[in-house]
Symmetry: C2
């Protein structure tokens, strides 16, 4: 009887906790690739909590499969280019960055970045046109009376759309280079004395000259950002608004910035009340593996396994790189599960199995897993922190070098250079993180920090999205710095 | 069956949530007066969660009744002065501040502040001596192996004791003037362009000249703080440590700063990962009143009641001020419950009852309550926000003017001047907050913000105290700015 009463009061407590939940209507601008994988976890949770979710997606999206039925719905708008155009632009840049940039001059790299940025901006403004000049779409979106917009700023004009629909909005962001968007549009302070500017490889402990370098880096990024905005985005935004405005005026209205990291990963730094750190929101306890995979994992005995993935964007390697990696993997006593969809390397050893796709989170959570070889995407990095698996990082582009440097500085990873590494480098890296217990200990320290939060990251993210819907914004968290004149 | 399973899984969920709870040993340096009332709510919750709590209190404490049995225990150390010495020092200053400062010159006020600060510092260093030169006490404290120190920096040398015992520590703080301690020892940024320096009466929207004034105010406070520390505290701390050190070096080691406000009250501003805002942690739903009090409250009919308290430190008013207040209260249709232990004013009207003590939180949570007349202490202010009762503020000293100005700027209070107010001023103030619905609406907006947090303030406070005990600190939240050289 007593335990029955106890259970009943627990149930009541839980029910009371749900009070005030309000079924809302969310419009989502998804990112692409891993950004989309991260965001869809939030969307699934919103649907689970009875909110109505509409994903606004362009017809050429490389990652969002809007033909597959989901718990949320899609609204597709047509753009005057194909999925292939986006993909080839990106592949072209990736190949340059990974294979050619190392041997190119600063000028060549600068010109390439300018060229890609130009093409990307042109495509983005095309996407914006396809939304704002589509009367049917705009009318429909207005009629649907959304309570909030959730957007990845990788998607252009989402802030402008929230403004046009007069709906509060929430941003999901990892970071921008030089933290330009966070500093200029979000008003977050970043003292150059102890907050290193990504993509610099410094920690929060810098020498005098590193601090000067850091300061100059912030300045350079700020200048490029301002010039880029002035020349293109501000002009476009002003045209749509019908009065002079800027990207930062519109984006700065964001009610909440969901940052996809936490203090397990970040160096402690000042932030603002509307910045919420939700890194690892997609992580879950491991599920059971398929029988075949579990058998292979168990066959590793006490040596355990290594999980290897360079992410979903790298589909193929050069023959030479593929063989260098395969040779290295053949020299360790562990069994290796390698996610790779390119041509099978000739030097592939019997301890290594290649898979088109692996259940990465479930493998990282397996007790036999000793190390994770990764390009260092934020999703995989957080799965590694969540499950406490030390890493060998082979960063390629975007946030990856910054991610791996953080982990290296925190003693939880070894970093190797994708282009320059020999088989021995990779073997040495793997032996270090597997056999030197300090890597595991450091990763377990980060894992404990990650798990010891007042609230789970996904719950925090959803709380603030629901807060914005319940209260039509979160203006009480937005600093007055947004309204300061020069 | 299904509902049985549901209840069982809920119970399991709750049990899982409790995993990792660790019974710790906390040493507490309590503040005095309202600070103590606030802190003891945390201590009761810690005891409730099976932690062992020891309050280290000096024999002359004016507020901490260490002879009364509590769920936590007391360790008393003797000081070479009496409770009366502390009380009379404070009463002397209060009387000067409330009744004389208005007509005194800047020089007189400055000299008085210097005199009081001097006497207070001398008493404080006496208290520190009484701890650090008491071998038996120090040995006992070392033997008890505390997991954390929780302190109100109103109590001197608590940080130095945590350092001596080599125990991580947590601070509970409302603010310091000019935010000197938070800025200098906590490294919190305070941009003078939109973060007003208490006790200035500005909001986060300042004109150019107000910003200049604000900037100068920060500078002046910083200078006084630095000089005061250099002359006395740093010297004392260096003596105890046996090497040159400063207050800010020792206090800056604090793992967590529990700030006794939240964004319902604060203007949004930058902060740091180890600053946690827990304003209103002492607030609770109202309990039933005594029969006699409930009858009196109900006799007010539709007009409702007004709750009046100038706090526990003001025991007596001048006859003239008492009569001015009593006359005003007699002119409103509401019934008034006035907490006042001084001589009964001659002009007391039949609608007003005077009490030595009132159940303030229960009265503020009563549906008949229309307004709260208050000196603006932080505890009462948060009870008002919690229950959504608009305020007439009569601030006297310390944080009270700053508190009431915040509430006034947010549209939830009228402020009147204690010395200059006529009966009409008080009546006008009361009629405004009771009859102009904008005050109630503003207070309800703040109340909604207060209640709509991811976690209750008391749970947040206790979470971080427990975190510090579980993890022997929270260094991953402490910015590197602490270690920067000039």
């Amino acid at each position: 009887m007593v335990s029955g009463r106890l259970l009943m009061s627990m149930a009541l407590l839980i029910l009371c906790g749900c009070q005030g939940t309000h079924s809302g209507n969310v419009l989502v601008f998804p990112g692409e690739f891993s950004h989309w994988l991260n965001m869809r976890v939030i969307l699934e949770e919103l649907v689970e909590r009875n909110h109505s979710v509409t994903v606004l997606v362009c017809s050429a999206s490389p990652s969002v499969n809007y033909t597959k039925p989901e718990g949320f719905s899609f609204k597709v708008y047509n753009v005057p280019f194909e999925r292939h155009d986006l993909e080839s632009l990106q592949e072209d840049f990736l190949n340059f960055w990974i294979y050619e940039a190392q041997n190119a001059s600063m000028l060549q790299v600068g010109l390439k970045i300018r060229e890609v940025l130009g093409s990307m901006t042109a495509l983005h403004l095309n996407m914006c046109d396809a939304m704002f000049h589509n009367k049917e779409l705009m009318d429909t979106l207005r009629q649907w009376e959304f309570d909030a917009v959730l957007s990845d700023p990788m998607m252009p004009c989402s802030d402008l759309m929230a403004d046009a629909l007069n709906v509060p909005f929430i941003i999901s962001l990892r970071f921008t280079f030089g933290m330009t968007m966070e500093r200029h549009c979000g008003q977050i302070p970043a003292p150059p004395s102890f907050v290193p500017a990504p993509p610099l490889t410094y920690t929060d402990q810098m020498s005098f000259f590193e601090r000067v370098h850091n300061f100059v880096t912030y300045m350079i990024h700020s200048s490029f950002f301002s010039i880029h905005c002035l020349q293109t985005i501000d002009k476009y935004y002003s045209g749509i608004k019908g009065r002079p405005t800027t990207l930062c005026e519109i984006l700065g209205k964001a009610d909440i910035w969901l940052i996809r990291t936490y203090w397990d990963f970040e160096y402690p730094r000042p932030f603002l009340p509307n910045f919420k750190f939700v890194g690892g929101l997609h992580c879950k306890p491991a599920k059971l593996l398929s029988k075949a995979m579990e058998d292979f994992v168990q066959s590793s005995g006490d040596d355990g396994i290594v999980v290897f993935s360079l992410g979903s964007m790298i589909k193929n390697l050069t023959k030479e790189r593929g063989n260098t990696i395969a040779t290295a993997l053949g020299q360790i006593p562990q069994k290796v599960l390698w996610r790779y969809s390119g041509e099978k390397p000739e030097t592939l050893a019997p301890n290594t199995r290649v898979y088109e796709w692996i259940p990465q989170n479930d493998l990282l959570g397996h007790p036999k897993t000793k190390a994770f070889v990764t390009h260092g995407g934020t999703n995989g990095l957080y799965e590694s922190i969540y499950h406490g698996v030390p890493m060998v990082g082979i960063p390629l582009f975007a946030d990856q070098p910054d991610n791996i440097i953080h982990m290296k500085n925190k003693g939880a990873a070894v970093m190797v250079d994708f282009n320059k590494m020999t088989s021995k480098d990779l073997v040495d890296g793997l032996n270090s993180v597997i056999n030197d217990p300090s890597y595991k200990a450091s990763m377990m320290r980060l894992s404990r920090i990650h798990h010891d939060q007042p609230m789970k990251p996904l719950d925090t993210a959803v709380f603030w999205i629901e807060f914005v819907m319940r209260n039509k914004g979160a203006k009480h968290l937005r600093v007055e710095a947004h309204n300061l004149s020069w």
